[in-house]
């Protein structure tokens, strides 16, 4: 899937223009709003302008539904408007993301019972970022329905959905987080440049130096043909993928948040040292945090949460995680990924309820949590279930291990160990960075870009993993 990705020449030029014009227009909201909206649509429609129509349609329908919900005194009308919006949003996802999966699964099932009449397979383009902006739209109308936020104008909703730093792969922003910022012009004298630049630089390094290198040197070769690799290589590829996906996705999010900060907007945090978690519950408070809270607030809690006894709670946990898995993609590998997390969360909860406070030593709890997460990643990364089971079986095979090299080990360990660094250290680094002269900061950032490009080499930056969702 082609697209305008953050670490590219095209995006650098685009951002520079947007940065200048955005701050020039900031004191004039009537000019700034259409500008930032058009800029975001240009970013989104760079490859295929037709996708913009989809985004516009989503904004129009959800704004209309939210207005009806906000204005109607009738509970029935409000509920109908909410249901209509959710059906529309989920309908979009179903058509664009799940139609092929549904048809081929149905076809397999019919074939299995001897009714082999194939359903029509239709090739449908998956618009980039559809899962993100759809979830954002649902959260907006539900929040209006719950009176957690006020209904906004079409322009505001359109910017909320399309604001380019978060449009393609999150964070999934709630209306209450961005709309108030859109209503108040940002102060050009107080740009949060320290954290912004550090996040952009850090995200660039995570993506180009760690994630892409690990993918190229160990993860992709092993997951292409696990049977051709030794147990040591397979095991390192599993840990390597844990490091890769963290650096890839959090690298993207860091850049998204950093870019938004330079434009004067604060987006919610999406990662908080997830591999330091000592329980699955903690992991989900630290990994893809905006998705976890979406699943909690708009799925787990409406399903009943933990209000109706342990059995219902376990069922709700499992359902939430299975649907969370399916959100990533229409494949059984993602369903099993969600199933592993759902089962582990339920088991953990049961143990906690039966035994009280956790009795495992901290290091053991960390070790178990990390390995459950890695086990689930095997399914997440594998192109099909056959490869996933080959990877799991391959951990115990012997043979030479030419892919187990010092750089790969180093990158894997560093990507995971760096999360143990206390957040205060990063804040000190930000303060130090801001105190440097502008020239020095620019030179340092420029050198970092050159180094990142050299690390990537001729093959260029690989697409971010979460762009496909």
């Amino acid at each position: 899937m082609t697209h305008v990705s953050f670490p590219t020449i095209e995006f650098a030029a685009f951002f520079l223009v947007v940065f200048v014009l955005s701050w020039l227009l900031m004191p004039h909201p009537r000019a700034w709003r259409p500008f930032i909206l058009v800029a975001s649509y240009v970013f989104y429609g760079w490859v295929d302008p037709r996708w913009v129509l989809l985004l516009v349609a989503s904004s129009v329908i959800n704004t209309f539904a939210a207005q009806v919900i906000a204005r109607s005194p009738s509970a029935v009308t409000r509920k109908r408007a909410l249901t209509g919006a959710i059906v529309f949003d989920l309908g979009l996802l179903c058509v664009f993301k799940y139609f092929g999966f549904f048809v081929s699964s149905m076809d397999d099932a019919l074939d299995g019972i001897g009714l082999g009449s194939p359903l029509p397979l239709v090739q449908i383009v998956l618009p980039i970022g559809i899962s993100f902006f759809t979830f954002q739209a649902i959260s907006y109308v539900v929040d209006v329905y719950r009176e957690d936020t006020r209904a906004a104008s079409l322009g505001d909703v359109a910017i909320l959905q399309a604001f380019f730093p978060h449009l393609v792969a999150g964070p999934i922003v709630r209306a209450e987080e961005l709309l108030p910022q859109l209503r108040t012009p940002r102060d050009p004298r107080d740009v949060l440049a320290g954290p912004g630049l550090l996040l952009i630089a850090g995200g660039l390094v995570k993506k180009t130096v760690v994630a892409d290198e690990l993918a190229r040197r160990i993860v992709d070769p092993v997951f292409t043909d696990p049977s051709a690799h030794s147990g040591a290589e397979v095991l390192l590829a599993v840990y390597g993928f844990a490091a890769q996906i963290y650096c890839d996705f959090s690298g993207y999010t860091d850049m998204a948040i950093g870019l938004a900060l330079l434009l004067g907007f604060v987006l919610p945090q999406n990662f908080d040292r997830p591999y330091m978690a000592t329980s699955l519950r903690q992991f989900w408070h630290r990994w893809h945090m905006t998705l976890s809270r979406w699943l909690r607030d708009y799925l787990y809690v409406p399903l009943g949460g933990n209000r109706d006894g342990p059995r219902r709670t376990y069922r709700n946990l499992m359902l939430t995680m299975l649907l969370g898995g399916l959100w990533h993609g229409a494949a059984w590998t993602f369903v099993i990924w969600g199933g592993i997390h759902g089962t582990a969360l339920a088991a953990e909860r049961q143990l906690r309820e039966r035994l009280g406070a956790p009795r495992l030593p901290g290091w053991l709890a960390w070790l178990v949590t990390f390995h459950v997460v890695c086990l689930a990643w095997v399914f997440f990364r594998s192109p099909d279930l056959g490869i996933a089971f080959e990877v799991l079986g391959g951990v115990f095979s012997s043979g030479p291990s030419p892919l187990v090299t010092l750089p790969v080990l180093f990158l894997t360990v560093v990507a995971i160990a760096v999360q143990a660094i206390p957040p205060g250290w990063w804040r000190q680094a930000e303060s130090w960075l801001v105190a440097r002269p502008a020239m020095g900061q620019g030179v340092a950032l420029g050198l970092l870009v050159v180094a990142a490009d050299a690390a990537v080499g001729e093959q260029g930056v690989a697409p971010f993993i979460y762009y496909q969702f």
Binding site: I9, E10, A12, A13, L16, F19, V20, W23, G100, S104, D107, D108, D111, G116, P118, L121, Q123, I124, V125, L126, P188, R189, D190, V191, L192, A193, G194, G196, L197, D220, P221, T224, D225, S227, A228, L262, G264, P383, D384, V434, A438, M439, Q441, G442, V443, A444, L445, G446, L447, V449, V450, A451, D453, A454, A455, G457, E458, Q459, G460
Partner: protein
């Protein structure tokens, strides 16, 4: 920090990056599709590159490339860019194909699958198309590359480096999707539907085949593009297939894998019937295979490989 100061930081960063990275910017521009973005990148990048080169600012980047183990993928004066069409006549001298050592489950065939982005899924499915345990594939896809723009990515140099690094038993090359550009022959530009383009494309293919096969020491299976949804691409790919078939006849150990005519009867289809199941076989760009669809070309490649390695024939030699 005031927005103006942030702008200074960004501008300085971009200037430093542009000066130290000017060669990479020009190369990136050369790798872009024809259009205004490419024109802008090249018209800005080339003068900067001239200045940077003149004052020695290429050196830090070269040092970094060395530190990261990156090898240059372009050079001037290679045979790929300029060479004789005599290479297309070489095999007529009557060289016999060598007998290649046959793989076994204890010593499977090490296959390097390379090419452009189309190589990715075809390479991934190659072991699935061969008898279990007899073939080990390493996939190295060089996205957006082809033979028509050696100034952006020189496949002769890359082939030499890959073979020296990996020493595979056999090579599968899956490439052609990016090769619709005009080529320069004796100072004149020719488009894909001219005899000059076809001869030049065949010549370049032969040069890379020879490098990948180390002049016949290992077999090379070259699979150019299959049919495409877009009519113009489709016609270019057809011409390209003729050129590759011609090159394969001239280079010892090279075999042409005809995906164009042998998948879906030579007519583009987005879905195919594979093992009794209808699957979406092409990606939405109308060119690339999906992972499910890539099994069909992988099988065609293995069928061609089985001519040199009979044990790879599904169902036994």
């Amino acid at each position: 920090m005031p927005a103006g100061r942030v702008l200074v930081v960004l501008l300085v960063a971009m200037l430093v990056a542009a000066l130290l990275n000017s060669e990479a910017i020009v190369r990136a521009g050369e790798g872009m599709n024809e259009g205004s973005t490419r024109d802008v990148v090249l018209s800005v990048g080339r003068p900067i590159d001239d200045v940077a080169g003149a004052v020695g600012l290429h050196l830090p980047r070269k040092g970094l490339d060395l530190a990261f183990g990156q090898e240059p993928k372009t050079a001037s004066g290679t045979e790929l860019e300029e060479g004789s069409t005599a290479i297309l006549r070489r095999r007529r001298r009557g060289r016999a194909e060598p007998d290649y050592p046959q793989p076994s489950s204890g010593d499977p065939l090490d296959v390097l699958v390379t090419g452009d982005s189309q190589a990715e899924f075809v390479g991934q499915r190659l072991p699935d198309a061969a008898p279990s345990g007899l073939l080990r594939a390493t996939v190295v896809a060089r996205n957006s590359t082809g033979l028509t723009r050696p100034e952006f990515f020189n496949w002769e140099i890359n082939a030499e480096q890959e073979i020296a690094d990996r020493r595979p038993d056999a090579v599968v090359m899956v490439m052609g999707g990016n090769d619709g550009f005009n080529v320069l022959v004796d100072g004149e530009l020719f488009g894909p539907f001219t005899p000059e383009w076809q001869t030049e494309y065949a010549r370049r293919t032969a040069v890379v085949m020879r490098e990948l096969g180390s002049d016949g020491r290992r077999p090379v299976y070259w699979a150019p593009s299959p049919t495409a949804r877009d009519d113009e691409f489709d016609r270019i790919y057809r011409v390209q297939n003729f050129a590759v078939a011609r090159a394969a006849q001239a280079v010892p150990g090279a075999r042409y894998v005809n995906l164009y005519d042998n998948i879906d009867g030579g007519r583009y289809r987005a879905t195919s019937r594979i093992d009794g199941q209808e699957v979406i076989s092409r990606q939405t760009d109308g060119v690339h295979f999906t992972r499910e669809g890539a099994l069909a070309p992988a099988r065609l490649v293995v069928a061609e490989m089985a001519k040199d390695f009979p044990v790879l024939r599904v169902g036994g030699p």
